[in-house]
């Protein structure tokens, strides 16, 4: 894994003004989450028989999965197509995907009425191959496992030969250490198999997420109801992959005060207009074949939302990123990648909420304060965990100015996992 050797734990104080705010938001979110688990959906959400799915599905799950697509698109680019230059972003993207999917599952649990039965789809006696949701669930579960496996070499690289667990856990030192050594020695040889599996699994469930609402043809607004919705979900997930990596790389370098990898980021940003154009082309073709254009211009709220989704989330960033000056500037990259990300989230909300038209609506759905707090809280918690991990594991590339032998950061867990020097 020599090409990763320049990655190192980032050295910075864990707490900053920003992280304190995030911690408060995450705390409120976790409190709401626990409240939900014990007091039920009625006391925490605005869901009803008309709107069985709310923002926990459309944002936490559907958007979460799409935004974690950076993991597989980057892996495909760097490891499968061997664009070695991009290896510096493979690890941050992998970590985002790993945490992203973990939080998707956490978010999903909040929404499940019987969250403690979440493992049921794994039992062969309950397999239901006709269910789109079954396929999504299985793929996400297997993919999450693959992501953790892909992350193992990073753990091994960090702690192999220097495992020093505190207190009674000390007796496990030898065991954990030899296990990490085995991982490092053998797993890295086979890791490419997992990388390909990860890409295949991603293609499968990213598209199947788009099949979910196809089962409700009579309830879906024609602007978003399409039999090729799975293809559009896959294409938009692929398109949002790099912008997500760019966005997160710029934000984390800002936060850690290290120079952003601008040349690499500008370089992957070149792909985005092409990917967005393909997505847009399919979307236009779909509207034309289904003769849905009249709905685009009927002036209703839904048509305006559709137009906004396409113009702001697809056309604008595609145009912006074709301009070299925008692509080379950090601000330009940040703005255009935010537009793509916002556009995909917008699209998922539109498909799962706006387009869903119950037959007998009593009132329209708007998320409750608890739903919003859980959703925002999970995002804040994800950012904090991300920060913690990049401060303790070699994920982000070392800035060239930092001297070799960077010491681990002073987080509480970093302290307790202190290595022998």
């Amino acid at each position: 894994m020599s090409k990763h050797n320049h990655a190192a734990p980032v050295r910075a104080p864990f707490l900053s003004a920003g992280t304190k705010v995030l911690a408060v938001i995450a705390g409120l979110g976790i409190a709401s989450y626990i409240y939900r688990l014990f007091f039920g959906l009625a006391s925490t959400t605005n869901l009803d028989n008309q709107y069985p799915w709310g923002i926990w599905i459309s944002i936490d799950v559907a958007s979460g999965v799409a935004l974690a697509a950076g993991g597989f698109t980057t892996a495909a680019l760097a490891d499968i197509f061997h664009k070695e230059r991009y290896h510096v972003i493979v690890r941050p993207a992998l970590l985002t995907a790993m945490l992203g999917y973990t939080f998707v599952v956490i978010g999903l649990l909040a929404d499940l009425g019987r969250y403690y039965n979440v493992w049921h789809p794994m039992l062969p006696s309950m397999w239901q191959g006709n269910s789109v949701l079954f396929e999504v669930g299985m793929c996400v579960m297997i993919y999450l496992t693959v992501l953790y496996i892909e992350f193992l070499p990073i753990v091994a690289e960090r702690f192999k030969g220097r495992v020093n667990l505190p207190g009674v856990l000390r007796i496990l030192n030898r065991f954990v250490d030899s296990w990490l050594t085995v991982c490092d020695k053998y797993l890295t040889r086979f890791i490419s198999l997992f990388i390909i599996a990860g890409v295949v699994l991603s293609c499968l469930h990213q598209s199947s997420l788009g099949t979910l609402m196809v089962i409700a043809p009579t309830k879906m607004h024609p602007l978003w109801y399409s039999p090729i919705s799975p293809l559009m979900f896959l294409l938009s997930a692929i398109a949002v992959g790099f912008p997500m990596v760019i966005f997160e790389s710029i934000i984390s370098s800002r936060s850690f005060r290290i120079p952003p990898e601008t040349p690499v980021l500008s370089s992957i940003a070149r792909y985005t207009p092409i990917l967005l154009a393909i997505y847009l082309g399919v979307k236009i073709g779909d509207l034309t074949i289904r003769e849905a254009w009249p709905y685009v211009f009927d002036g209703s709220l839904k048509s305006l939302l559709f137009i906004a989704e396409i113009l702001l989330g697809v056309v604008a960033p595609a145009v912006l990123l074709t301009i070299p000056r925008v692509r080379r500037s950090v601000a330009g990259l940040l703005i255009s990648s935010s537009l793509v990300i916002g556009g995909v989230v917008f699209n998922r909300i539109n498909v799962f909420l706006v387009a869903y038209q119950p037959l007998y609506p009593v009132k329209t759905y708007f998320p409750s304060i608890f739903e919003i707090m859980v959703t925002i809280g999970l995002v804040a918690a994800l950012v904090l965990v991300y920060r913690f991990i990049v401060m303790n594991f070699p994920v982000i590339a070392k800035p060239p100015t930092t001297p070799a032998g960077v010491r681990p950061a002073e987080g509480w867990l970093a302290e307790s996992l202190r290595e022998v020097e």
């Binding site: 959906l41 239901q128 979910l212 089962i215 309830k219």
Partner: protein
């Protein structure tokens, strides 16, 4: 990352098996049931007097509420259109025939579709079409994802949102437990006017068309449920078209094949995923070697 070609192919095989394990049953065919022989109920809204005794019988049979029978004589509930709820599997609503302005009542409940979208959607197979006709629900399997509610074209399943720990999806059970004992559903048994007729679906369709032919002045020539989304076990006769009622206008094609075709297309004997795996593997293998290309910005 040094794996030679043979070794690579060998492990690629293992990787595929790994993928296979997760999706082994994805190619299941929908269960084939002879829908003519399943049981059904014909609801004759021309004969129905809107007494709501079926609501009482259902609520009592399933221990949903314990309101006494006389309380169901309250006709003020007709002022708004009610929907089946977690504590009311069936409700009677009142409509007016636009031609004669005469009122008529429509009892609604789960239609027990021949090709239930809810069952196709369910992630764990908690909902299924039984041979006798009912679409049954197994709360023990259910994970509470509510995808069945998204899928149902009649918007029937209701959820026990207020139940914090063991919420269930609630809908008409077709009194499957009574059918097993050879009894008719509770609502059919109590109906004083024989507005509800229990029988095999084929018998009921013949009966429905027979009534229309016998008194064309009383009936609109349409049997709702005969063909909607592939046909349903519960069917309706009415004095007028169903356009003004809450029974939705639906296409004749069953819903499950729409998603199942996409789904099984993607997983056709696992060939597409495996092919993708193979292609990516080949690309990965053949493009190997340090890439000299400079970064283009």
């Amino acid at each position: 990352m040094t794996v030679d070609r043979r070794e690579f192919l060998k492990i690629a095989g293992a990787g595929s098996a790994f993928l296979l394990a997760g999706e082994a049953r994805a190619t299941d065919e929908p269960q084939a049931i002879d829908c003519g022989q399943t049981y059904g109920v014909l609801v004759d809204t021309v004969v129905c007097i809107g007494c709501r005794k079926c609501e009482w019988a259902c609520n009592t049979e399933h221990k949903l509420t314990d309101l006494p029978l006389p309380s169901y004589e309250d006709k003020s509930v007709f002022q708004r259109h009610r929907r089946p709820e977690h504590n009311a599997y069936t409700v009677v609503n009142r409509f007016f025939d636009p031609n004669t302005t005469k009122p008529y009542s429509i009892k609604v409940q789960c239609m027990h579709c021949n090709h239930p979208a809810c069952a196709s959607a369910c992630i764990v197979g908690a909902l299924r079409k039984e041979k006798q006709g009912p679409v049954s629900y197994d709360a023990w399997k259910c994970i509470g994802c509510r995808y069945c509610m998204v899928a149902c074209p009649f918007q029937v399943p209701a959820y026990e949102y207020k139940e914090p720990l063991k919420p269930q999806v609630r809908k008409c059970t077709f009194c499957a437990h009574r059918l097993e004992e050879g009894k008719k559903p509770a609502c059919v048994s109590i109906c004083p006017n024989e507005a509800l007729t229990f029988g095999t679906r084929q018998e009921l369709m013949d009966m429905a068309h027979g009534r229309i032919t016998a008194s064309p002045e009383k009936y609109n020539n349409y049997v709702y449920g005969e063909s909607e989304v592939g046909g349903t076990s519960w069917m309706y006769l009415a004095p007028t078209t169903f356009d003004q009622t809450e029974l939705p206008k639906l296409p004749d094609e069953p819903i499950p094949p729409i998603t199942e075709t996409i789904q099984h297309g993607i997983f056709k004997s696992f060939i597409p995923p495996l092919a993708l795996y193979g292609i990516l593997g080949l690309i990965m293998h053949s493009l190997k070697g340090p890439e000299q290309e400079e970064i283009n910005v």
